[in-house]
């Protein structure tokens, strides 16, 4: 990202000349005060929103503001999301929620995907809950399902907004380990967090201030 600026009302710039580079397999933590623009930055990185000015290149391809509506296939293929409010579908089970990313890309549920699902659920201690409806899960369990969902298709980029917000230390540790593990396999991770443990574990930590990123 180079010279990225974002405004919603044409007057106040939430992001103001932001530069950011994330390499393959890198984990970056972004810290900052509430309302400083962290979610806005994540939305732009995740191709959910476009910047007002500046340039954004994702996996070698320049992302254009005018083609924002066509990037759904790219998201389906290459990006996993973990949102602050989990965003699970209550009517579906843990397994069905975890497999949601496969609805909108052209991959079938193969034996490899099944194995990956078993592994991911096991990593997050969700195996016993695999057939439980999401509406019956605790906040921490929902968080872990959301993370499992983001990781299951081995995307090129995972974007996480406060992924350890509702987790105890042990489970937060699991999440950190999971991010580091997928990073070792080539997936890049961008995490917005207030968790110092996570910020300390990653190679790159930044603080978003006055619309720009400063290395911590």
């Amino acid at each position: 990202m180079s010279g990225v600026r974002k405004t919603y009302d044409g007057r106040r710039y939430v992001l103001d000349g932001l530069d950011f580079t994330l390499h393959e397999g890198q984990v970056a933590a972004i810290l900052g005060a509430s309302g400083c623009g962290k979610s806005t930055l994540l939305n732009i990185i995740g191709l959910l929103d476009s910047c007002t000015e500046g340039s954004y290149t994702f996996c070698g391809e320049r992302m254009l503001r005018t083609r924002l509506n066509s990037y759904h296939q790219q998201r389906a293929r290459d990006i996993g999301f973990v949102f602050q409010s989990y965003c699970l579908i209550d009517a579906l089970s843990v397994t069905e929620n975890a497999l949601m990313p496969f609805l909108y890309n052209d991959r079938s549920i193969t034996r490899e995907v099944e194995r990956r699902l078993v592994s991911v659920l096991d990593d997050f201690n969700l195996t016993a809950l695999k057939n439980t409806k999401a509406s019956l899960l605790s906040g921490g369990e929902r968080q872990r399902v959301a993370i499992a969902r983001a990781m299951i298709k081995s995307p090129r980029l995972v974007i996480a907004d406060e992924p350890t917000g509702n987790l105890d230390d042990a489970n937060a540790r699991l999440v950190v380990e999971a991010f580091l593990s997928i990073a070792r396999q080539g997936t890049s991770v961008v995490v917005v967090t207030h968790n110092n443990m996570l910020a300390d574990e990653v190679a790159c930590a930044y603080r978003l201030c006055k619309g720009r990123l400063e290395a911590c």
């Binding site: 959910l48 389906a76 009517a91 497999l99 496969f102 549920i109």
Partner: protein
């Protein structure tokens, strides 16, 4: 076993989401069910009602026409002669049904066989039948046993009768009817006079022949079986008896409002067409001059029935359209509410790669699936209701009624239900598709 191809996984997911919200499933289902149920029931009743009439007319003999008029017999015959109609039979119908037979059944109810008496001057080709909607229709004669009324019987005014198979089965269950006598005009309790009154002499006619049941008689037989099996009050069944014209004029001279018909039969279709055209022209002129005649042909009766059927269906369609609009508005409201409730879900789906078309398709698919379930249930329920109401409708409509099914009758209500759901879900689906993903993910 989760392994599956993406399309199957996707469709399974959509079906799951369609029924996930029980409140929406119930409310939308009820809306579609009511509209489709009423449409299907109405369509079934209308089609069945007219199917009975159409079938009885289709049995009418080819190249025959029935002329009824207020003219006296001589004038009527002169009129036909002037039109070049050579072959016809003079038929007198005693409109007041005459009791033939009555007995008390084991359950205390009374079973009574009533007959319409037809007197005719000729029975060689066609015999008249009165349909349930009041049309006299000549049908081909099919002799089962015995003989038909001969010229000698006609000239001498013999006291003979030809009955149909239904009458023979009811009066002579042992099968031997030829040579037996029937009494026409026995009252419902089987007595020929009431105590204290003068003895009434009822006409006795010798059975000389049995003819095959017409469609009307077959329908009455079915109706009889239904009546016997039901708990309804006293059972009445209608049939027809055919006697020489002179015999009817003699024995039933004091009958109330007899109706006279001239049944014109033609061997040559071209001659039939010519004569019918002339008769229709005479009918038109006669109506303006006060000499009313009515000409009934198979084509005319069928055309009238088709026109009535079309009019009735048009009225039914208008009623259903109004119903669909009313229920459609509620369906649209419920769908909009569902979209609002699922805004965060829409956001996450878009985040994971759903396009606008995917979102719109999902909401429309869910509504169509619910409509399909409700429509199938409604069609099945309406057919069951019509079957159960057959007996009641037969009493109310005063003629035999049985449910007639056709593929179109089953498919059309289904299509109407799904079309209603499709149209009412377009706007909410487009609204859902156009929700901004960043706004939806912030939605609480």
């Amino acid at each position: 076993m989760l392994r599956s191809a993406r399309p199957l996984f996707y469709v399974t997911h959509l079906l799951r989401m369609s029924v996930a919200n029980k409140v929406r499933l119930t409310l939308v289902g009820i809306g579609v069910f009511v509209a489709v149920f009423l449409f299907s029931a109405g369509l079934t009743i209308v089609n069945s009602y007219y199917a009975e009439s159409i079938r009885s007319v289709q049995e009418m003999s080819e190249n025959t026409a029935v002329v009824s008029s207020g003219l006296d017999p001589v004038q009527a015959k002169d009129m036909l002669s002037s039109l070049g109609v050579g072959s016809y039979s003079d038929t007198l119908l005693i409109t007041q049904r005459q009791a033939l037979y009555s007995r008390e059944m084991d359950d205390g109810r009374w079973l009574t066989l009533n007959a319409l008496v037809f007197g005719s001057s000729g029975f060689s080709k066609a015999m008249p039948v009165l349909t349930d909607d009041g049309s006299v229709v000549p049908v081909d004669v099919e002799l089962v046993k015995g003989r038909l009324i001969s010229q000698a019987d006609l000239q001498s005014g013999a006291k003979v009768a030809v009955i149909d198979e239904l009458t023979a089965a009811m009066l002579f269950p042992d099968g031997e009817s030829i040579g037996k006598a029937i009494e026409v005009g026995v009252n419902v309790h089987g007595n020929v006079f009431m105590p204290g009154q003068e003895e009434i002499v009822v006409p006795r006619l010798e059975v000389i022949g049995v003819v095959k049941d017409s469609y009307v008689s077959r329908a009455h037989r079915q109706e009889l079986l239904r009546e016997l099996g039901s708990g309804n009050a006293d059972v009445f069944v209608s049939t027809s008896v055919y006697v020489p014209l002179a015999t009817v004029e003699e024995l039933f001279s004091d009958a109330m409002f007899p109706e006279r018909y001239l049944i014109c039969s033609f061997e040559d279709p071209a001659a039939y067409a010519r004569s019918v055209a002339q008769m229709l022209a005479y009918e038109d002129i006669g109506s303006r001059r006060g000499a009313h005649i009515t000409v009934s042909t198979k084509e005319r009766l069928l055309a009238a029935l088709e026109q009535n059927l079309a009019s009735t269906k048009a009225a039914l369609n208008i009623i259903i359209l109004v119903l669909c609009v009313i229920s459609g508005i509620s369906i649209m409201s419920i769908t909009f509410f569902s979209v609002k409730e699922r805004i965060p879900e829409i956001g996450i789906r878009k985040a994971f790669g759903a396009s606008k078309a995917d979102i719109a398709f999902q909401f429309m698919f869910e509504m169509l699936f619910i409509a399909l379930l409700a429509s199938v249930a409604a069609v099945a329920a309406s057919l069951l209701a019509c079957r159960l109401a057959e007996g009641y409708l037969t009493e109310q409509l005063f003629f035999s009624f049985s449910v007639v099914l056709s593929p179109g009758q089953l498919l059309l209500p289904l299509l109407v239900g799904m079309l209603e759901a499709a149209l009412c879900s377009i706007l909410p689906s487009l609204y859902a598709a156009n929700i901004k993903v960043t706004d939806s993910l912030r939605f609480e």
